[in-house]
Amino acid sequence: MKQKIFGVTVAKLTASFGQTIYMVGLSLFFGAILGILLALVLVLCRKGGLKENRIVYGIVSTFVNIVRSVPFVILIVTIMPLTRAIMGTTIGSTAALVPLIFYISPYMARLVENSLLEVSDGIIEAARAMGATTFQTVWNFLLPEALGSIVLALTTGTIGLLGASAMAGYVGGGGIGDLALTYGYQKFNTPLMIFTVVILIIVVQLLQALGNGLSRCLREHN
């Protein structure tokens, strides 16, 4: 693997790809679960919701807003003690997962909250009228009806995550973004920088197309 593309080895390139997929994939998985849970809490506890609870709503909503207002680089540094406590280290791709999940969950929560609010009140009323428990309402009515929209929300979240993962280089997380920054920009290797940016553009396009396609499938139920 001595062959070089734009001044870096193929091994380095594939490793960077691997790191990005690892970071985005895992934080997407956990971020989506946490985000959907937070969104459900927001939707159920909001005024007029099935489990209206102003205190819980206020706390979760404020927490989401606070985390969302911290720039990602600052967030990485701020929660380092937490990262160390969970992962045992603050350096590397695995350590980067903690701030990434911390960053993306509230973002996902807001996006999914919007998706869930698109489900008409009538559906929820029908669920209540036929004697559905809260869990049944969420599982059989709210989530299935919002699924197409949730997929789009997760797509938007994934693309946000891809951008955030570039900054993971700050804690030695590596990845394509880090490659562009340290090997491209800082070493004045403009072709490499442009190359990685083009790759990112292609990946984002593919992700969006995939998300749109999946969502359309779910909405149109061929």
Binding site: S120, I123, R128
Partner: protein, 341 residues
């Protein structure tokens, strides 16, 4: 049986207080098709939501089959709600599911085994005449078909009561007719008691046996359909009656009557139920010797009976006209003198 007594409900919002229900009492007997009619904002939506406690009253009592509901928690209400079907104006079906899956949902929630569910779905599809659409996605159906699915879903757990919230308001007249026929079939064949709310006179006229008229959160008139619409006491009730039956002298005829200068009197005769069989008009002529001219006549079927309105012009001596009036009153036909403006 549903018994609402002295229900009050006030909604408080930033825009101010809205008294949706004011001392509303109403009893739906088993086997009734009870219609609550009123314009939007009259409080009828709030009322129907009280029957399964989707909306809780501020005060008053709600009994379904003798059981008081108002003190019960959401969890306690679950089995009650499973015995009360509900159909909605906007259908409220799951667009992401097929027809069969939609109908199956209440049974799934109630924990019924899947073979039993499948058999029941088949039965229900046949009942609502949608057997060929079992695996079609709801988003591909027409409005009338969607409402049939909504009705089948509401019947899934064999409820004794069906609530219809403006079930036909989003449908065209022809589809409305077919849905009304289906509701009537449910009432007759399955013995399901129906409480419905509507702003369409056609609905009450076609299928209801009892009616309550609501205005500004109050029930202003209630009783059997023939009683309430046969002799409406409130202006709003009269306006609903006018929607289906011509009971005023048309303008063009008024012009002719005024112009010919023959005088006489104009009487409005209302035949309801049994009185339809009486040969009253023929007898008026024979008994009193007045000349009878029918200006306008209108017949409507209602509650499996009919209501006819005749606008008659009586011509002749004053004493003869008075005799004719006395005769009409004796027959039990409702009479009202009409004075042209």
């Amino acid at each position: 049986m549903i018994e609402f007594s002295h229900l009050n409900k006030t909604f408080v919002s930033r825009a101010g207080k809205v008294e949706a229900l004011k001392d509303v009492s109403l009893t739906v007997e088993n086997g009734d098709i009870y219609g609550v009619i009123g314009f939007s904002g009259a409080g009828k939506s709030t009322l129907i939501r009280m029957a399964n406690l989707l909306e809780r009253p501020d005060s008053g009592s709600i009994k379904v089959d003798g059981v008081e509901l108002t003190g019960q928690t959401e969890a306690q209400l679950i089995p009650v709600r499973r015995k009360i079907g509900m159909v909605f104006q906007q259908f409220n079906l799951l667009e992401s599911r097929t027809v069969a899956q939609n109908i199956e949902i209440p049974m799934k929630l109630a924990g019924i085994a899947s073979e039993q569910r499948a058999a029941r779905v088949k039965e229900l599809l046949q009942f609502v005449e949608l057997s060929d659409k079992a695996n079609t996605y709801v988003s591909r159906l027409s409005g009338g078909q969607k409402q049939r699915v909504g009705i089948a879903r509401a019947l899934a757990l064999s409820p004794s009561i069906l609530l219809c919230d403006e079930a036909t308001s989003a449908l065209d007249p022809q589809t409305t007719e077919s849905i009304l026929a289906l509701l009537k079939k449910i009432n007759r064949e399955l013995g399901v008691t129906i409480l419905l709310i509507t702003h369409q006179m056609q609905v009450v006229q076609r299928i209801c046996n009892k009616v309550a008229v609501m205005e500004n959160g109050r029930i202003v008139e209630q009783g059997t359909v023939l009683d309430v619409f046969g002799s409406p006491k409130q202006e709003i009730t009269r306006s609903f009656v006018r929607a289906i039956i011509q009971d005023e002298v048309p303008q063009s005829i008024q012009k002719i009557v005024k112009a010919d200068g023959k005088g006489g009197k104009i009487e409005k005769l209302k035949f309801v139920g049994n009185t339809v069989n009486e040969p009253v008009i023929a007898e008026i002529c024979q008994q009193s010797g007045v000349e009878v001219n029918i200006l306008c006549a209108s017949v409507q079927e209602m509650q499996d009976s009919v209501m006819c309105v005749f606008l008659l012009r009586l011509l002749g001596e004053e004493s003869a006209i008075a005799a004719a009036e006395a005769f009409i009153d004796k027959t039990g036909v409702l009479r009202e003198e009409v004075v042209l403006k």
